[in-house]
Symmetry: C2
Subunit: 407 residues, 2 copies
């Protein structure tokens, strides 16, 4: 437990050192393999080496800091070091430095653990530089690589990766290695939503990650003159779209309170005030912890498209994302519930609506996540904030969990 002011100051000092690397930009900008990113992973390796941890770097730039145990089992924690463009201070970095803090204190208080304790700083999760997400954890856990991508300035993933990673791998006492898969993975992360703030809980115990599907829906009507075309002679793509969107939102609400339904993108053609819209494209993003609910709603979408009143307006849907829900380890979840109660922390079990490295790790290891509250539910923005008391509470619970697992 972060019991004294001194320990808290060390955490704050490390945190400040990393976030100051982005000082000349709006918010945080640690895009994978950028100079800021290299500086952050370098600083982290040094933090680990200063407290006697073994540093490893694999070929994707994932950093592993091990406190070797008495046997060959491995208990891992960690999160991602990268950020979105103009991101906040806590997304990812909190789990990396919070994990380091926990390992640091456990080592000081309890010495060598039974099982190896490993802090992982994943290279990339956000997909904000290249159109690939979770490339760090996918490389580690699933041995998946990124193919033929370039960033917005035309730099290839391969070129960016090899330059940045070779810098990290050439640091003093760094072992070039992709270590074995751990026996468990615990990720500490900010919630990025408003549920903990709303329910006045300090801790979210994450039971899984929602499944997600995305669709592009195209409404093809007929563009025409807004003055000379009588109302009963129109094939207005936008009128069909608004009725469809309102109906689907209603159906989503009826189906399940926890089904999220978002039309985030909508474009009108030709998009001129005195011309009846000929074509509308819009996206539908649906998420739920139970894949059968998503199946059911997909059926509702397909049925609804055939019910458009105007026979001359064609509506088609194309699914372009289908991610299955992830269910995390129930034993680790129960253990965390008990530990939170012992620590006097008010905790609720919840499903994450966003993807995380834990989504990937749960495919190879028993996995659990700990959430702390995000003020106003704001994330991916410079004003992302978690209060110090909540930051401490999350680290304390992680420390208790790692202690229970590794000692």
């Amino acid at each position: 437990m972060i019991r004294d002011t001194n320990k808290w100051l060390i955490f704050q000092h490390r945190f400040q050192q990393i976030i100051q690397l982005s000082d000349d930009t709006i918010g945080q900008n640690r895009l994978v393999y950028s100079p800021n990113w290299v500086a952050a992973q370098t600083a982290l390796i040094q933090f680990g080496q200063q407290i006697g941890l073994t540093a490893m770097v694999d070929n994707y730039g994932n950093v592993y800091l091990d406190l070797p145990g008495k046997d060959d089992r491995v208990i891992a924690t960690g999160s991602h070091i990268d950020t979105v463009i103009n991101g906040g201070k806590y997304d990812g970095l909190y789990g990396v430095l919070g994990g380091l803090q926990a390992v640091d204190e456990l080592k000081e208080r309890f010495g060598t653990p039974q099982h190896t304790l490993r802090l992982i700083s994943f290279s990339e999760e956000e997909g904000s530089r290249f159109k690939a997400t979770f490339s760090g954890s996918k490389y580690y856990a699933l041995h998946q690589s990124v193919k033929d991508l370039t960033d917005s300035e035309g730099v290839s993933f391969e070129h960016a990766r090899s330059t940045a990673v070779s810098h990290l791998q050439s640091l003093n006492d760094v072992i070039v290695k992709r270590p074995v898969i751990p026996d468990s993975f615990t990720e500490l992360h900010i919630e990025q939503g408003p549920r903990l703030v709303t329910s006045h809980d300090q801790i979210g115990l994450v039971s899984g990650i929602v499944g997600q599907r995305r669709y592009t829906i195209t409404v093809q009507g007929q563009s025409n003159h807004a003055g000379t075309t009588p109302m009963n002679n129109r094939h207005d793509a936008l009128q069909t779209a608004v009725i469809l969107i309102a109906a689907l939102e209603r159906r989503a609400h009826e189906l399940s309170d926890s089904l999220t339904f978002t039309v985030g993108q909508l474009t009108v053609t030709p998009n001129v005030s005195n011309v009846i819209p000929g074509t509308v494209h819009f996206t539908v993003d649906i998420r739920h912890a139970d894949d059968s609910v998503l199946n059911h709603f997909e059926q509702i979408i397909n049925e609804r498209l055939t019910q458009v009143a105007d026979p001359l307006t064609k509506v088609t849907a194309k699914r372009y994302v289908k991610d299955l829900p992830a269910t995390f380890d129930s034993t680790l979840l129960s253990q965390n519930q008990q530990l939170a109660e012992q620590l006097g922390l008010s905790a609720r079990v919840m499903v994450s609506g966003a993807g995380h490295d834990s989504y990937v790790m749960s495919q190879v290891s028993p996995t659990t996540m700990i959430f702390v509250p995000s003020e106003g539910g704001i994330s991916h923005a410079p004003n992302e904030l978690t209060h110090p008391a909540d930051l401490k509470a999350g680290i304390n619970l992680l420390m208790a969990s790692l202690h229970a697992q590794a000692y």
Copy 2:
């Protein structure tokens, strides 16, 4: 009446000469004061001079071709020579060359009229080069000028105008003059909508032009993460917008069958599939022949904005167009009804949903309009089409009307 093949060939020949000026582009492109436009007005002046009409050009490039009568009353006809970008062959040009054809034949068959017959080719009606519409008829009838406008390439209205107009005014036997306001104005035009085709009528007798109002409506909600924000915690600007648009469309339908309601433009911010929309802007275009209906609907819009369910989503409306309806001359309308009957043409009285030079002319002279059918209701596009039989029918009725008025 276009009785013989020879007369019809002359009309077709003149028509081909003008539309061939745009041969290297998609559709017709006679933007005001462009080289194509100068060539078209020049050709028209020559057509008029060849059949003995007096040519005048004013300082905005409106062309007037007079067949002088025995007294100083003036019976005018005409339309505009300019087009939209990638426009059709008939919008505007049909009324100019149809009017010339009518004056030509009346002169040949009946000689000098009692009152002067005037064909007007207005310089500009479409607003497709500069953000000003009806600048030709407004200069002639209302003495209004265009202030400080430039086209998309930075050329000023003044520079374009003076260069093009001085060319026309320096042609042989052209009188530089803005002549007196006529004692009546009759405009021949394509319908640009589907009503005549739908009702199988050859002629539309236009009783007036709808009033028109346009609004920008802004919905200000809160942008947020599509996965982590529960449905009951959202301030989704697009969901508010679609419910509002659907409700307003329903109310418009209830209020009057002849009220047109169009949301032609809609933009979403940030417009990303996994982000809840924070802001939506959309336009509303409403038109009706009775201004009190527009007043009533404006009240409905304002009331509806206050009924948005989410108190944290703000909706505001700003009116940026308010054009009063125009009522055309009832005597000329009755006369045209009788003449159409005598000619065996099926005609219906209708209100125009689009603006025309007649809208401006009706403010200073008794005005009437004759519509002919537009195939498929298509206009402002290269595939704009009116069949030859309908083109002839319109010219014949115009000729009968001018004969009745001027001889």
